[in-house]
């Protein structure tokens, strides 16, 4: 049956803890075909690949729905090794290379060619020595297939980043069995020329009969390379189109990816309370935040404005607020109402009346084991010397916690933010995600900040709580005129709550647009294309 597709997905679906992330995904892939899989962060691409690869996380969260066919046979992989066994190779976004090993050693990692010896019969095959000559020859052949020139003896840690990507792919090519290759963002770390070499190498591989699933955010190269395009949005396939026959533009794809119903939340648009006075001025900011590095970002935020920062994961959007608050090493200039803020020093940021709601709620945001009221007032107590009682004669050297004032303050917030709890003495760890987030907001409000930075305010909380949290932010802004910077992966949320939204890409600001612009404009910015402001 030569016409039978190599890979066929039928009605694949997946729920994580009652939260649907994939529904009814079906497509097929023929031999030697390249399929481009695109979608926003959270569209379900990674989950789909985890299912395809039999990652343990899938089984441990209740398995998946639907069926997978590989080479005509129904398969269900228990572990990634099962997937490798039938011939599915995966190149991950993070490198899985041994830094001190040569290219050849990495390409043949745990598949080394061994010399025959008596010892392997006596003990185990692991007692046999390595046949380095054959290993080098095999590695050289795999590298050659890719059309690049990398010495097999080169140590990986001394290679430019682009080369490492080639080594990863060469490893999959060397597996004789590999028939399907999955590449997750392979060009993200490559330069323009390296990308071109890689793309033509992939074309060659496909022509030799290997099927490829290509996941990329760079739409232009996806269009150039793939035979077929599958667009995922909110866990569903919104579009499946052949690339070659149609004239596709990056703009079309972007609108499919982000194109929710634009009018679904028209009342949410808020009144702009900005005065035009500049509140925050950021120039050439760089931040060393692992996974969210910022290279050179500049923007200004007006007083009384709600300013959104969006963009794909890993582009640096979270690095900006974390860097301004001094949580990671940073440089450049940040001025708050004309006053320069010392970077790399959280205390300096807090002293200049900025407050921060971290995306890492359980790690940075809360003292999980402590009472609600302590959580809310802790930073104010530390930074602003509030909620403290003087002890006679001791002056500044000994002061006691003012429990009455603390409880009163907390009670106020519990009421106004509708925090569901048994009382001010309940421990933060016992609350639901949404209520924990409200505690984080209360803690920030308690500082009476001039500028409030909020990261991923709705991550991991249910829909009802989302509305409440966003509503709270909006209300706080309107009541006190506080300038707010919201960082979020959810574009719709930013468009609903913000005045202007900056899209971050490649560690810099790709563009700043008014929130009223159609979503596909933001989508195009996210994909690294230019757009008129």
């Amino acid at each position: 049956m030569p016409d039978m597709p190599l890979l066929k997905l039928e009605n694949i679906g997946k729920e994580y803890f009652g939260n649907r992330v994939l529904a009814d995904v079906s497509f097929s892939l023929n031999r030697g075909e390249i399929l481009g899989l695109v979608g926003e962060n959270g569209a379900g691409k990674s989950t789909l690949m985890n299912i395809l690869f039999g990652m343990p996380v899938i089984a441990s969260t209740g398995g998946y729905e639907g069926s997978l066919y590989f080479d005509g046979e129904k398969v269900s992989f228990k572990s990634p090794f099962d997937a490798l066994d039938v011939g599915i190779g995966m190149v991950h976004q993070e490198f899985s290379l041994i830094p001190g090993f040569s290219a050849a050693e990495n390409i043949l990692l745990n598949r080394e060619v061994l010399n025959r010896s008596v010892l392997e019969n006596l003990f185990s095959p692991r007692a046999a020595t390595l046949d380095r000559q054959t290993m080098n020859a095999r590695a050289a052949r795999a590298i050659e297939t890719l059309g690049v020139d990398i010495g097999v003896d080169t140590i990986v840690s001394e290679m430019p980043v682009g080369y490492k990507q080639f080594i990863e792919i060469a490893r999959e090519i060397d597996r004789a069995k590999t028939r399907l290759l999955v590449l997750d963002e392979p060009t993200a770390v490559l330069t323009e020329t390296e990308s071109q070499i890689l793309l033509s190498a992939l074309r060659k591989l496909a022509d030799s009969g290997i099927s490829i699933i290509f996941i990329s955010h760079r739409l232009q190269e996806t269009i150039g390379l793939c035979d077929k395009l599958v667009v995922l949005r909110d866990g569903r396939i919104v579009k499946e189109v052949p690339v070659k026959d149609t004239e596709l533009s990056a703009r079309d794809i972007a609108s499919w990816m982000v194109g929710r119903n634009v009018d679904n939340n028209p009342t949410a648009r808020r009144v702009n309370s900005s005065t035009g006075e500049i509140a925050l001025e950021v120039e050439h900011l760089w931040v060393d935040m692992p996974g969210e590095a910022v290279r050179d970002a500049s923007f200004t935020v007006h007083k009384g404005e709600i300013f959104g920062i969006g963009g794909l994961a890993g582009q640096g959007k979270l690095g900006i607020p974390n860097g301004i608050m001094g949580l990671f090493p940073a440089g450049g200039t940040v001025k708050l109402f004309g006053q320069a803020v010392e970077l790399g020093e959280p205390r300096a940021a807090l002293d200049s009346k900025m407050a921060f709601v971290s995306e890492d709620r359980r790690g940075v945001g809360l003292l999980l084991g402590e009472r609600i009221d302590w959580n809310i007032t802790f930073t104010a107590m530390q930074v602003q010397d509030r909620f403290l009682k003087d002890v006679p004669f001791f002056g500044k050297f000994l002061r006691l916690r003012d429990d009455v004032a603390i409880a009163e303050e907390a009670r106020g917030y519990i009421e106004s933010l509708e925090i569901k709890c048994t009382g001010v003495g309940q421990r933060a760890v016992e609350l639901s995600g949404g209520n924990q987030q409200k505690i984080c907001l209360a803690k920030a409000f308690c500082l009476k900040p001039d500028l409030l930075l909020v990261c991923e305010p709705t991550r991991g909380i249910d829909v009802g709580a989302k509305e409440l949290v966003l509503g709270t932010l909006r209300r706080y802004n309107e009541e006190y005129g506080t300038t707010i910077i919201v960082t979020s992966s959810e574009l719709e949320e930013l468009r609903a709550v913000c005045d202007r939204v900056a899209i971050v890409g490649g560690g810099g600001v790709a563009g700043i647009l008014p929130a009223s612009r159609p979503p596909e404009d933001f989508g195009i910015l996210m994909m690294g294309e230019k757009i008129d402001a």
Partner: protein, 390 residues
Amino acid sequence: MSENTAAFQTRRTFAQKITALFAAHAVPIIFIVISALAIPISGFSATYLIQELLIRIGRNSFLILSLLIPIMAGMGLNFGMVLGAMAGQIGLIFVCDWAIVGVPGIVLAMIIGTPIAVVLGLLCGAVLNRAKGQEMVTGYILGFFINGLYQLVVLYFMGWFIPIADTSLVLSRGYGIRNAISLMGIRTVLDRLLPLRLGPFDIGTFHLGYIDVPVATYLVIAAFCFFVIWFRKTKLGQDMRAIGQDRAVSDSAGIPVDKTRIIAIVISTVLACYGQIIYLQNMGTLNTYNSHDQAGMFSIAALLIGGASVTRASIGNVFLGVILFHLMFIVAPMAGKNLMGQAQIGEFFRVFVSYGIIAVALVLHAWKRHNAIMNARRSLRGAPGKKEAA
């Protein structure tokens, strides 16, 4: 102009290279300098020094070599090697009791010690797998724990329900082994198996005497070195190197990480057992309750003095370390006596140096790792040209 810049940069990198070379080998260089100063002050003759060094290299090298394989597997300095030393001592106690002398006695002690060392190694490996990243401190404390079991066996069980026939080994109360056991039956038998005497060295009117070389011991050590070299080339050795550099990547490539780590510790423990037997046959006395304690600390100190680090150690480090470490032990007391009028200063120096050097090596390791992390962090931002504004 650009050529000038390039030349200037090469020159600078050359100077930097020399600085880097000194920084990388600071510990051995300091010891070479100290020894070079102390040797003339001590007034020892060359033949005496060489003879002493030859004996001590033969005595200690095997023990130190046993540390190499766990370092390769990324488990750091194996403080758990004292477990192997204890196994070897138990073997020696039985051999003494049964009065088996000569090389057969040594071989029998090894045969008895091996299964004990394997069991202790498996235990140690299993514990260390539950304490990944804290192997060294865990191994060190595990050494204390097993020392307790060792004492229970040797001090209470032997002569009670483990029969010990030779009453001269047993404490006067009727059970438990004496504090010091003479190993007369096997004393230096390996060293004297293949006798080789060099000399006499007479230069002018100076009569400098003979140098005896313990040939058989050196052959055993050479065999061990070849084993290490061969082992590095095997699949198992390759797997250990991979695990040593990145556990997660090795795991995702299908290398059985935990099992391989246990194998590394078992090999190290068994070899430490043999090493301790070789060490004690040279010393001729077994300090039942102390010998193993010193084995770990001094071996690790010697390896570090040879320029090894927590993550990298070679056969060259072993021999350079054992030479420098013992050279200092030989000359320091005499140099101390000649300088200060008391030999005690040298003894103080020995303990001070052993612990000090381990502390320094661990601090250096932490410092280098910190630097590596900082560099990795800086590289996150990518092209350096982009941050000129910083």
